[in-house]
Amino acid sequence: HIATSLPLPSERDHLRPRIDLVVFMIDIKSKYSLKNVETSLAHVDASFFLGKVCFLVTGVGRVNACSIETNAICKLGEAYCSPMLFCELELEGVRVATAQRLLRMLQICAGYIPGVSALSFVSLMRNSDDD
């Protein structure tokens, strides 16, 4: 399901299946994109932040067009304890690889991989710098 922002329109509530993973896409070329994600985050139930939320930063290939500092984005990821993926949608190889990663995460979040749950992502988030 694709949405431009949260909260989701209520008229489709009854048509919506269970949500296993929320991916927030931030376009590094647009400050508005970051702001939109920040406001939408407020509408997410706290239980999702146990591994069912992930940030996808796009447009990283165009270094000259960056409007958002990587620092700000990393802080966001830390604040919400959620993984941060970086990709460039315009490159097919990167696009496919990112899609595969997201799919894998989704499988885990939906419970299709025995022995691994979404909570594992939280422990993987620990940065080596922190210790």
Binding site: H1, I2, A3, T4, L8, P9, E11, R12, S30
Partner: protein, 346 residues
């Protein structure tokens, strides 16, 4: 043949991309087909141009013919120049019969009576467009062939498209000649400029697809909002919003391709409204500011702003009024008392 003419022809040919030289020379028609056959178009342009000049010498070309070649080049590469639009006004309402030779005579007469040293060339095209090339001199100097002005006039319309040369002082004289020749009594410059001559024509002749208000009791279902999303596994949560934006966009911009403009300029002379605590400006004077939007295709990019999520729909009327007000230069002044805010032209 005059050396200056030879040099001018040589430089004009050098401007043409190599693959186009033959067709352009054929369009020119000054060299015979037999002469064109003798040219080797597979060598470097330097040599091709020399050979062309040589052939022109055989035919004793003068500046008049060279000027025609220049018009042909500029007609094909019209988008390299910046065009301004002028509108003429008639005193009466009668539609007079347009006589092209009368037009030419009066035009030449007016210009020559003021300035002896001018080169004037006409060429008519099928779409009723009359192209005029004027090379300007001074009372003491021969015309500068490298900085001519071009005028495009459609005889059944009050519009003239001018690509002035750098020598702006000749503009009033050019305008004078135009109104005398075409039997109008006044001419004014519109605030409309672009490199794309065809787009300017589309705007003033209203040839672009505009949306006329049709009465529909219920909005038509969907339309093709996202034709590329044929994958049914993708669900758009904000479909109704997307459709609203699409519908608003259609209403404002119409369905077809927009005319091609490169920029829109807004000159603001309004008061700066800041937080009183910030106290940015002490003086109670209008804050002068110039806002310029540039784009390879301004109107198409404005049209795609809302669907791309970069702006809210509907867009500001200051942006969307550009084609139907036929202007891309605006001056915005402060609201004065009870008068509604208007786009004031200079």
């Amino acid at each position: 043949m005059d050396e200056t003419v030879a040099e001018y022809i040589r430089r004009t040919v050098l401007k043409i991309p190599r693959d186009e030289i033959k067709t352009m020379l054929q369009k020119w028609g000054f060299l015979s087909e037999a002469q064109l056959q003798t040219l080797n178009f597979h060598q470097i342009k330097e040599n091709i141009s020399q050979e062309v000049v040589h052939l022109c010498e055989e035919n004793s070309a003068d500046i008049k013919q060279a000027a025609v070649l220049d018009i042909i080049y500029n007609h094909i590469y019209q988008n390299k120049r910046m065009w301004s639009v002028y509108q003429m006004k008639k005193s009466g309402e009668e539609l007079e019969y347009f006589d092209i030779s009368d037009f030419k005579k009066k035009f030449k007469g007016t210009l020559r009576s003021a300035l002896k040293n001018v080169t004037i060339t006409f060429k008519e095209y099928e779409d009723n467009a009359i192209w005029i090339r004027v090379a300007w001199g001074t009372p003491y100097r021969k015309p500068n062939q490298y900085k001519p002005s071009y005028v495009v006039y459609h005889s059944q319309t009050p519009y003239v498209f001018i690509s002035a040369s750098v020598l702006k002082s000749n503009l009033p004289l050019l305008c004078q000649a135009l109104i005398v020749a075409s039997n109008y009594h006044d001419i004014r410059e519109m605030e409309l400029r672009s490199h794309s001559l065809n787009s300017l024509k589309d705007i003033v002749f209203k040839r672009y697809s505009q949306n006329f208000q049709t009465y529909t009791p219920k909005p038509l279902q969907g339309g093709n909002v996202e034709p590329e999303n044929a994958d049914i596994r993708i669900v758009q949560e904000n479909r109704s919003e997307k459709e609203r934006i699409h519908r608003l966009n259609q209403e404002v911009f119409g369905g077809g391709l927009q005319p091609k403009l490169e920029f829109a300029q807004y000159r603001l002379e309004t008061m700066f409204k800041s937080d009183p605590k910030m106290d940015v400006l002490d003086k109670k004077e209008p804050f002068r500011c110039l806002v310029k939007f540039s784009s390879p295709h301004l109107l198409e990019s404005l049209k795609s702003l809302a669907p791309a999520g970069m702006a809210d729909a509907p867009l500001s009327p200051l942006l969307t009024c550009i084609p139907h007000k036929a202007r891309n230069y605006f001056k915005i002044r402060e609201k004065k008392g009870l008068l509604p805010r208007s786009f004031v032209s200079p």
